[in-house]
């Protein structure tokens, strides 16, 4: 601590240079944190997916339906504890840019299947008693200023016509990465009001909860086997695998992040390394004097590294802090990234990156300062 004034004084020697270098760190780390947030958003489904849930879809494609009659047959598969089902609706609320996921869900089983969402009993009872009832996620309700009792008109894009819903409840999550942007309404309401040409009694997918200790692979195999060679063959897979394959369809986010992250780190190394090299060069005489009066090589090494680290951590913390504040404001894409939050691990990674880059960028100049020959440096004065 007794050397802190020396470090601070050196940092404030060229305020503009220190500020600009720290600002470059802040911008780079802000970008890094946003990339981490986007990655987390894409992977949210994978992270939030239930470890004991199986997702059953039509083998041909997710958009092909499955008969409702499969529900009872799936329930008979050994190891299956509960079955629920839902349909993708794909409607438009007021404007096509107001995207949010809408699901027609089974009023009897859906709440029990997705226990990570908190819905109060009164709201769920209302949902079960009113055919036009709907429940919205808290973030979605906040986005459009909805409150319980509001009428929500949605224009069907797949299922044509105007659909009117009564908002009877708002659900909350139990984890930071729970998706609070969904809109649920009753599957039986959809089924009874299908436009011409749509057959009744079909669902989009089944969600299956397996019993504790059951073998997921075996259950998936048995479900698919049961419907093999039928008109609607199934693909059963863990909910996590399903979410992961969905992310994969978006492209290789990891590679993109790695590429952008590498450019960011490399640029920071150049900027900070150059700054610290300049700072050491212009202070050769001071460093020589410090050594002359008894400061050791390691101290001088530490002094330069401490300055580099301080710039990096100040800039990094600022960038990460701004990114956190930005993500707290919610999804900036209007629904494409429903769970837009910076995980704590991402925040720590950003700060860790700052420290690593600060140390690495300062190392060469610090080494040069450490190796400075006092007599030679003083002769140059």
């Amino acid at each position: 601590m007794r050397f802190l004034p020396l470090v601070l004084a050196n940092l404030l020697r060229k305020k503009a240079r220190t500020a600009l270098t720290a600002a470059s760190f802040a911008i780079a780390l802000f970008l890094f944190c946003i990339l981490v947030t986007i990655r987390a958003s894409f992977n949210q489904g994978v992270d939030a997916a239930g470890a004991d849930r199986i997702f059953v879809t039509n083998r041909t494609s997710l958009i092909q339906p499955l008969p409702l009659a499969y529900r009872d047959q799936i329930l008979k598969v050994p190891g299956v504890q509960a079955v629920s089902y839902a349909n993708w609706f794909g409607g438009v609320y007021q404007d096509p840019k107001n995207f949010f996921p809408q699901f027609a869900v089974d009023k009897d089983t859906y709440r029990e299947m997705y226990r990570e969402f908190r819905i109060d009993d009164a709201a769920w009872q209302s949902f079960q008693s009113d055919r036009t009832a709907a429940i919205a996620g808290a973030a979605l309700a906040r986005r459009f200023g909805w409150k319980v009792g509001d009428r929500i008109p949605i224009q069907g894009a797949i299922f044509a016509g105007e659909w009117n819903f009564l908002l009877v409840g708002i659900y909350e999550g139990t984890k930071a990465n729970d998706d609070l942007t969904q809109f649920w309404f009753r599957w039986d309401y959809l089924n009874e009001n299908l436009p011409d040409g749509y057959p009744e009694g079909y669902v989009g997918w089944y969600s299956v909860r397996m019993a504790a200790g059951a073998d997921m692979v075996e259950i998936c195999r048995r479900i698919d086997e049961r419907f093999a060679n039928s008109a609607w063959e199934t693909r059963a897979q863990s909910e996590k695998a399903m979410a992961a394959s969905f992310v994969k369809q978006m492209g290789n986010i990891e590679t993109l992040m790695l590429a952008v992250g590498s450019v960011v780190v490399f640029t920071l190394l150049l900027v900070t390394g150059n700054t610290m090299a300049g700072a050491v060069r212009e202070r050769t005489s001071e460093l020589a004097v410090l050594k002359a009066i008894g400061y050791g090589d390691r101290f001088v090494l530490g002094l330069v590294l401490a300055e580099s680290l301080a710039i990096a951590v100040m800039g990094g913390a600022l960038g990460a802090g701004l990114a956190k504040a930005f993500t707290l404001a919610g999804d900036p894409t209007g629904g494409m990234l429903p769970v837009f939050y910076l995980p704590d691990a991402g925040l720590l990674a950003a700060l860790g990156l700052s420290v690593a880059v600060g140390l690495f960028a300062g190392f060469a100049p610090a080494l040069a300062a450490m190796r400075l020959e006092v007599a030679t440096a003083l002769r140059r004065l």
Binding site: R2, F3, P5, L6, A9, N10, L12, R13, S285, E286, V289, L290, K291, A292, I293, G294, Y295, G296, D297, V374, A375, L378, R379, L381
Partner: protein, 232 residues
């Protein structure tokens, strides 16, 4: 009394025997110092004169442990510093040597107080002890009312006085002054020389001073001349 040329062992505070320093420039060997024998007793004020390139500063660097000789031995208070490792030499410097340079070499972003405090940060002293010692050193050089000033807010003479305060604050065994008046006007130079004289006369300090200025050298008790690496 300080002397040159003696080869027998001595009890002098600073004792050099057969000291040589060679540098290599390309394929050429430069013999900067040749067989230097010097004794300086405690409490003496010694001046070293000589033309540019005669090896004055090199000799000062060797005595101050900033450089190592190519041959010979240097003893300070009986301890051979030529056998110390680089890190031990650094520690030795902190304890035994106070440096005063021609260009003052203060840290421009630190106040006079902080500049003088620098050598004390290496010692196991409390903040209060450091403050007291710095205040004393600045009082000795007559700048206790300027302790919060940055170097750029001080005149050249005042900056050199701060540098002297920095050199004496750790109560070193001796002071090495490399052209301490070289960048000062006559009046300021006289003040600095008075101060060095005061440190020798009243505080018993030992001072070795390199100078080009005969008037400065005249203030020392003994003056040696260095020419082509040989001391006389």
């Amino acid at each position: 009394m300080a002397r040159v040329g003696a080869t027998a062992p001595s009890e002098a505070l600073i004792c050099l025997r057969g000291v040589a320093k060679n540098y290599r420039r390309g394929s050429e060997d430069l013999h900067v110092l040749t067989d230097v024998n010097l004794d300086v007793d405690r409490g003496e004020f010694v001046a070293l004169m000589g033309p540019s390139g005669s090896g004055k500063s090199t000799l000062l660097n060797l005595i101050g442990g900033l450089d190592v000789p190519s041959a010979g031995i240097i003893r300070v208070a009986g301890d051979p510093i030529t056998s110390l490792s680089r890190s031990k030499l650094t520690t030795w410097r902190a304890r035994h040597v106070g440096f005063v340079f021609q260009m003052y070499n203060l840290i421009p972003v630190l106040s006079a107080f902080r500049n003088v405090e620098l050598p004390l940060l290496l010692l196991p002293l409390s903040k209060a002890e450091r403050r007291e010692r710095v205040a004393t050193a600045l009082r000795v050089v007559g700048l206790d009312d300027r302790m919060d000033h940055k170097p750029r807010e001080l005149s050249g003479g005042q900056q050199q006085r701060v540098a002297i305060a920095r050199a004496i604050v750790g109560d070193p065994t001796f002071l090495l002054c490399d052209e301490p008046t070289g960048d000062l006007d006559r009046h300021s130079a006289d003040e600095i020389l008075d101060m060095l004289h005061h440190l020798v006369g009243d505080f018993g300090k030992t001072v070795l001073m390199v100078t080009h200025d005969p008037r400065a050298a005249a203030r020392a008790q003994v003056t040696f001349h260095l020419d082509k690496g040989e001391l006389s």
